[in-house]
């Protein structure tokens, strides 16, 4: 399970990312932040990639839709999808209550973590949200 939101990394595009060592590999768990979920409001659909698909830091890996609009989801990290949270698209209402635990979307086996330093820590991300909120 992901760590406390204070210990996660955040992308400008509102995805969170938790990188841990598992059996010699780096595994990143990815989700979307509570702030983004609140802004999106009334989620109705989520499109997830298949296991085995390559994702690239800063590039789209799926979509989430609210009543009004479609929003792309961007990968905070480069690697290969090793697990998807298949129960999530049918339980999007639970994302509001639990974005950092039940709300995980993907697990990615990291092949390149050179961009990690460009992600924000919780304090910097909070600042970004305050500025745009």
């Amino acid at each position: 399970m992901p760590r406390d939101p204070e210990n996660l990394l955040y992308a400008e595009s509102h995805e969170w990312c938790d990188v841990v060592e598992e059996g010699g590999a780096k595994i990143a768990t990815i989700g979307i932040s509570a702030f983004a979920i609140e802004q999106l409001n009334d989620l109705v659909y989520m499109d997830l990639p298949e296991v085995g698909k390559a994702v690239t830091a800063g590039e789209e890996f799926g979509e989430v839709e609210s009543v009004k609009a479609v929003s792309p989801l961007y990968s905070p990290i480069t690697g290969e999808v090793v697990e998807v949270h298949s129960e999530l698209p049918d339980n999007l209402d639970q994302l509001n209550d639990d974005p950092y635990d039940f709300g995980w979307i993907l697990k990615v086996k990291v092949s390149d973590d050179s961009n990690l330093s460009s992600l924000m820590d919780a304090a910097a991300y909070k600042k970004q949200c305050a500025a745009s909120g």
Partner: protein, 373 residues
């Protein structure tokens, strides 16, 4: 932010209620206060208050205003009795829709009759500019733009009439659907019409701008125990979509004619001449090239405006004009134009950003309220 955006007289109220404000048709308008789905459901189960002050209100006084409007509208106005409201289209010479409008025939307490045209916010100036050159042909008619002097509030939902009945000195249930009157409410004149854009029973009120907050708060308070809720443009759109109602800029524009849009009922073509009538007669005789249809995409993924509609062999036959989730029905709905030869197809495919989704044809509207017994 664009500083030239206009605000409605209820702007401060919206902000204090925590509304998310967005630019819309030159105004800053509330898109939602909390949840679009919650606001949608409030309208279907109780009643919703909408600030629709951004819509244009244009008044025509003087002898012959009905003839001016007869000349410009697809629907006959000259036989509209005092207290009547009629939906019609204003077309260009080619039959393209300039706007869809409501025209009311009203009488002031001092017995002056006038016509009031309510137009879409996005077309407000265009319609004034369109009508102005026709005015010299009707020298006894004066046109006045009442939009900034007034506010417009829609109260829509199954409990709207009952609550307003208790609040008003006038009994709004005496109005039939598509009737309007001028009445003193809250000690000020109010135009009350039994019209709306949600598929629910309800009223639309036009009040003086300075009265807007008082009227709005009075109605919200009177309906508080019944669940009356302020509702933004987000839910207004999902409500009108479920009700199968066209929206200008989506189902209607200047390159679409009312026959193709499925609005033949709003075109009186017999024994009449009006701007666009020859073109519409020709389109009716030849048959429209495309028709507006309703469809239900399979699965949960909503088709959105601009998605291509394909036949089952994968050939493009049309385009989605409005689409999204239906909060009442619990699945996506979409309106689209398809080539006329496909009007009666039972199934389509919709290309939702690169993925084909099967969609089943369904008659419009998607949702119809149950009539009171």
């Amino acid at each position: 932010m664009n500083t030239s955006l206009a605000t409605t007289p209820l702007d401060a109220w919206h902000r204090s209620a925590g509304a998310k404000m967005v630019p819309f048709a030159g105004y800053e308008m509330p898109i939602q206060y909390a949840s679009i789905v919650g606001e949608h459901q409030a309208c279907r189960t109780s009643a919703a208050l909408f600030d629709v002050s951004h819509m244009g209100r244009i008044r025509f006084d003087g002898d012959g205003s009905e003839h001016l409007l007869d000349h410009l509208l697809t629907r006959r106005v000259s036989d509209l009795p005092v207290g009547g409201v009629r939906y019609g289209l204003m077309c260009n010479a080619e039959g393209g829709v300039l706007d869809d409008v409501l025209v009311s025939h009203l009488k002031t307490p001092s017995d002056r009759r006038f016509h009031l045209l309510v137009v879409n916010a996005s077309n407000h100036q265009k319609i004034i500019d369109w009508i102005t050159p026709h005015l010299p042909d009707f020298p006894t008619v004066t046109m006045s733009d009442r939009t900034e002097l007034t506010a417009m509030i829609a109260v829509q939902g199954p409990k709207a009439i009952d609550v307003c009945k208790k609040l008003f000195t006038f009994d709004p249930s005496r109005l039939k659907y598509y009737q309007a009157t001028i009445t003193d409410q809250f000690k000020k004149p109010v135009i009350v019409s039994r019209t709306g854009y949600t598929g629910e029973d309800g009223l639309e009120l036009i009040v003086r701008a300075e009265e807007a907050n008082r009227v709005w708060e009075n109605i919200l308070l009177a309906g508080r125990d019944e669940g009356f809720t302020a509702v933004g443009l987000g839910a207004r759109d999902t409500l009108r979509m479920e009700a199968g109602m066209p929206l200008y800029g989506h189902e209607l524009n200047e390159s679409i004619d009312p026959i193709s849009a499925g609005l033949s009922f709003a075109c009186n073509l017999q024994d009449r001449t009006f701007v666009g009538s020859d073109a519409l007669r020709a389109i009716k005789a030849a048959g429209p090239k495309q028709v507006r249809v309703g469809m239900i995409p399979e699965g949960k993924r909503p088709a959105r405006e601009g998605c291509d509609v394909l036949d089952l062999d994968g050939n493009k036959i049309g385009c989605v004009t409005s689409g999204g989730p239906s909060p009442t029905l619990g699945h996506p709905i979409a309106m689209a134009y398809v080539a006329t030869q496909h009007a009666n197809d039972k199934q389509f495919q919709i290309d939702i950003r690169g993925k084909s989704v099967l969609a089943n044809a369904t008659p419009l509207p998607f949702y119809k309220r149950s009539k009171k017994v």
